[in-house]
């Protein structure tokens, strides 16, 4: 039984309307807060059922493990709000991480050069995707399927498929270091998330991202440069994916050309769980952070409880479907 506000208002009498509105309100509440409620329920369950779940060590561990997918998901949120998608992020993780690993020992102590080169690779792939989407009018799915293949090929070709290992000290710090009690990857993720949240919810550019996703034609008519908006979101997507790749490489103290394979699907799942619509126009960074943490906590909990890894992907799938159903009841 699907009730929307519109057919309620037109088809029901005053008494039925009141009853219907209460039902609608309940649905709205579930739609708006369902994921948070689910998150809390999972936390409570794991705290009770999984040994060591509620230790500081484990919680830091969960957030650190989530931070790489989380970083990539931040950029993906921008792209998906414009009704786009970026399948190349996993390959960007591989290529940027590889670039970083190749340059890190060569540059001696100079930590910034490999860092900038790695992020530059992300920008480049983002630019290629954007050029195809904006100038070539190619569907984002297909354009980024192409850049996904191209970036992966580049990562494989430059090392002839070999793994590169052994980074210099400061590069390694990016993955394993701490500032106070907090791991560096977590700090990078949180800072990036706060910046992205600010940009998306407070700035003119953020507002235009939503407008492009909501109605690209209208956005053009009111004078918004939709191509500039689209270019920018794919560049952001490239940079955040590259950043994820750098952190992963630093954490593993080395890079494999196949690193990041399949990340795009995990990231898209996390973003959708966080309330972003594949049709564009809807989504928040806050939601994405919750989506990322929820998936991270579930994976961690299953590991702690000794659930077979065969089951883990299936559980992710169930959560994804649940989230999509809940999103239908969202207000507005």
């Amino acid at each position: 039984m699907s009730i929307t506000m519109d057919n309620l208002k037109t088809k029901l009498g005053p008494a039925e309307l009141k009853e219907g509105l209460t039902a609608t309100k309940v649905k709205r509440f579930i739609g708006d807060y369902g994921i948070i409620i689910l998150f809390v329920v999972i936390l409570v369950f794991l705290a009770a059922a999984a040994p060591n779940f509620l230790t500081l060590n484990n919680i830091v561990n969960v957030v650190r493990q989530s931070s790489i997918i989380g970083l990539i998901a931040l950029g993906m949120t921008f792209i998906m709000i414009t009704a786009g998608i970026d399948l190349s992020v996993g390959s960007v993780v591989g290529l940027a991480g590889m670039t970083f690993a190749l340059l890190a020992p060569a540059s001696g102590g100079a930590f910034w050069l490999p860092l900038i080169a790695g992020l530059g690779v992300g920008l480049l792939v983002g630019f290629l995707s954007a050029a195809m989407v904006v100038w070539g009018a190619i569907l984002p799915f297909l354009a980024t399927l192409a850049t996904m293949a191209i970036a992966r090929t580049a990562a494989l070709v430059i090392t002839d498929g070999q793994v590169v290992s052994g980074l210099s000290g400061p590069a390694e710090w990016l993955g394993s270091g701490f500032i106070g009690p907090v791991p560096v990857p977590v700090i990078i993720f949180l800072v990036a998330a706060i910046i992205c949240e600010f940009v998306l919810s407070r700035t003119k550019f953020g507002s235009h991202v939503y407008a492009v996703g909501g109605n690209e034609e209208s956005a053009k008519k009111v004078g918004i440069s939709t191509s500039r908006v689209l270019f920018t979101v794919y560049l952001i997507g490239g940079v955040t994916a590259a950043l994820g790749g750098l952190v992963l490489t630093a954490r593993l103290d080395g890079a494999a050309p196949v690193a990041g394979t399949g990340y795009e699907l995990q990231v898209i799942a996390a973003v959708v769980i966080g309330g972003t619509s594949l049709f564009g126009g809807v989504g928040t960074i806050r939601g994405t952070v919750i989506g990322v943490l929820l998936l991270g906590v579930v994976m961690n909990g299953m590991n702690l409880m000794g659930v077979s890894s065969y089951f883990q992907q299936g559980v992710q799938g169930v959560i994804l479907v649940l989230a999509v159903l809940l999103n239908r009841w969202k207000s507005d």
């Binding site: 407008a211 909501g214 004078g223």
Partner: protein
């Protein structure tokens, strides 16, 4: 007309506008003028050139020949924003709204007011200002809508009010409305009359692009009929019958119009060529073989 007092000078005058696209002559010497606070209708079939003419006026197209005058001064609209900056606003047929955003965001879409935080480098959208301004313009239209409501929740008439409010928020002096009733559920001509009257009270001139005669007759002070890229007639409402205008739209002339009884007196159907602007107020219909300029 050059020595006419300023009060009766046109707010905007398009003079002898020509525009071709490849082999197609979309506009062949079109001149119209709109007085301050006047409601002017531009009638004609599809491909008559109405929309092209308005795209020239809103800076979307550049004319091949001809000029635009605003307050009697020659001006140019090289871009849509140049046109908007001088107070010419367009209300699109589809209202150009983003359903996923709220009323205030839609009103200011593309022209968001900003405020500095931590200096001029970091600027954020001034939502408070957007909200108060939104309330203000919708009150001026006498159509109060909650500024925080998502546009997808609005009725057709409310959506139109938001689109018009967008023009008002930026001090429009001339609002162009493209087929204003095309996206309203029922024929809401009554509501359109109210809105245009409201705009008139505010001293804002309106050009309505339409192919609906009832709409033009109900709201306009004056109208021009376009056909095949030319103006084939200009009238004050009441000077001609709907049947005559319908004939003019499809034939481009009233020469062969057969009066079935309800029309206007014979002597007022002055057929012939003239290039004088003084005939704007009189019934003047271009003959089929005459020059393009009325």
């Amino acid at each position: 007309m050059t020595d006419a007092p300023p009060a009766t000078a046109p707010l905007v005058a398009l003079k002898d506008i020509h525009k071709t696209f490849g082999a197609v002559s979309a506009l062949r010497g079109v001149s119209i003028d709109v007085m301050p606070g006047e409601t002017f209708a531009l009638l004609g079939d599809n491909a008559a050139g109405k929309s092209t003419l308005m795209k020239v006026l809103t800076g979307v197209y550049q004319p091949d020949r001809g000029s635009i005058e605003l307050d009697g001064k020659r001006t140019e609209f090289p871009t849509p924003s140049a046109s908007r900056d001088q107070g010419v606003e367009m209300v699109y047929q589809d209202f150009a709204l983003a359903d996923n955003l709220d009323v205030r965001t839609n009103i200011f879409l593309g022209r968001e007011p900003q405020k500095n935080i931590l200096g001029p480098l970091l600027r954020i959208i001034d939502r408070k200002k957007m909200e108060s301004e939104t309330k203000r313009v919708l009150e001026r239209l006498d159509i109060p809508i909650n500024p925080r409501l998502k546009v997808k929740r609005l009725s057709g008439g409310q959506r139109q009010a938001v689109a018009i409010g967008r023009a008002l928020a930026f001090d429009a002096r001339l609002i162009i409305m493209d087929e204003p009733t095309a996206n309203l559920s029922v024929a809401k001509v009554d509501k359109l009359i109210e809105v245009t009257q409201r705009l008139k009270d505010l001293g804002i001139a309106v050009i309505i692009i339409t192919h609906r005669l009832d709409e033009a007759f109900a709201v306009a002070d004056r109208f021009a009929v376009m056909r095949q890229g030319q103006v084939v007639g200009r009238f004050r409402v009441g000077e001609v019958s709907e049947a005559q205008v319908a004939h003019l739209i499809s034939h481009g002339t009233l020469d062969d119009y057969v009066d079935t009884g309800s029309g206007i007196p014979e002597e007022r159907r002055k057929i012939g060529s003239t290039s004088s602007m003084e005939t704007v107020d009189a019934l003047a219909v271009r003959g089929t073989t005459n020059g393009s300029d009325l």
